[in-house]
Symmetry: C2
Subunit: 102 residues, 2 copies
DNA sequence: TAAAAACATCGAAATATTTAGATATTTAAA
DNA sequence: TTTAAATATCTAAATATTTCGATGTTTTTA
């Protein structure tokens, strides 16, 4: 006898795909994603900012877009923000794209 | 004795990823990709145009961006253009995204 | 409790994208 | 060979995005 623990597989609708694509369609935001993905744990907002020669408000805006596209998850810790990659959304987006090539 | 016929696996650089993301970050272009991917063979430019309530020049512009991002391959046949999905690029892009979630 | 740190929000300028109409180009059909 | 069909290019307007500086909010530290 088998028991399946079946976690839902996220399926993105086209509005989500559009938003995610738009979020990734900027050199800074793409670099941010790359940087954060290379971390084992998380990355702090101010760390991210230090890597780029952009105003703090600009960086805040870019990070917000990545969070709104659900590519990043932001967790508040005191006066800091910790970012992690949202694996589930990355995988769902990746699957959506892969299916286009069939 | 074994012979490997080893086809190169396409690796995208971040400029390409940015361009592809930008190309996919528009509702019309995303729909175009969806439509063409659902076809077994190819799709003609004028067929694509008929599905949308957009000027011909606008459609031409959208298709051009998808071709320039290499998501679509355009083949000229007489006075028509045939579009097919560029599987290799879709897969390479999909892989790039999947790797972000690791 | 005053100051500083981390981040968000607002307003405005600079820049980029989207769109349509007019026109040009190429190829097929009459 | 004139006309029509399919597509591309150019220009300009409308719209959206990016960026910064100024200022606001929240939390920590002195």
């Amino acid at each position: 006898m088998f028991f399946y623990i079946c976690s839902m597989i996220t399926e993105l609708n086209s509005k989500q795909v559009e938003k995610i694509s738009k979020a990734l369609g900027d050199p800074y935001r793409l670099q941010i994603m790359d940087m954060i993905s290379k971390r084992k744990d998380f990355m702090q907002c101010c760390e991210v900012s230090e890597c780029f020669n952009l105003a703090q408000s600009t960086m805040s805006h870019h990070l917000k877009q990545l969070v709104e596209a659900e590519l990043l998850v932001a967790e508040k810790e005191g006066r800091n923000l910790k970012f992690t990659i949202n694996r589930e959304i990355c995988e769902a987006y990746s699957r959506y794209i892969a299916r286009l090539g069939f």
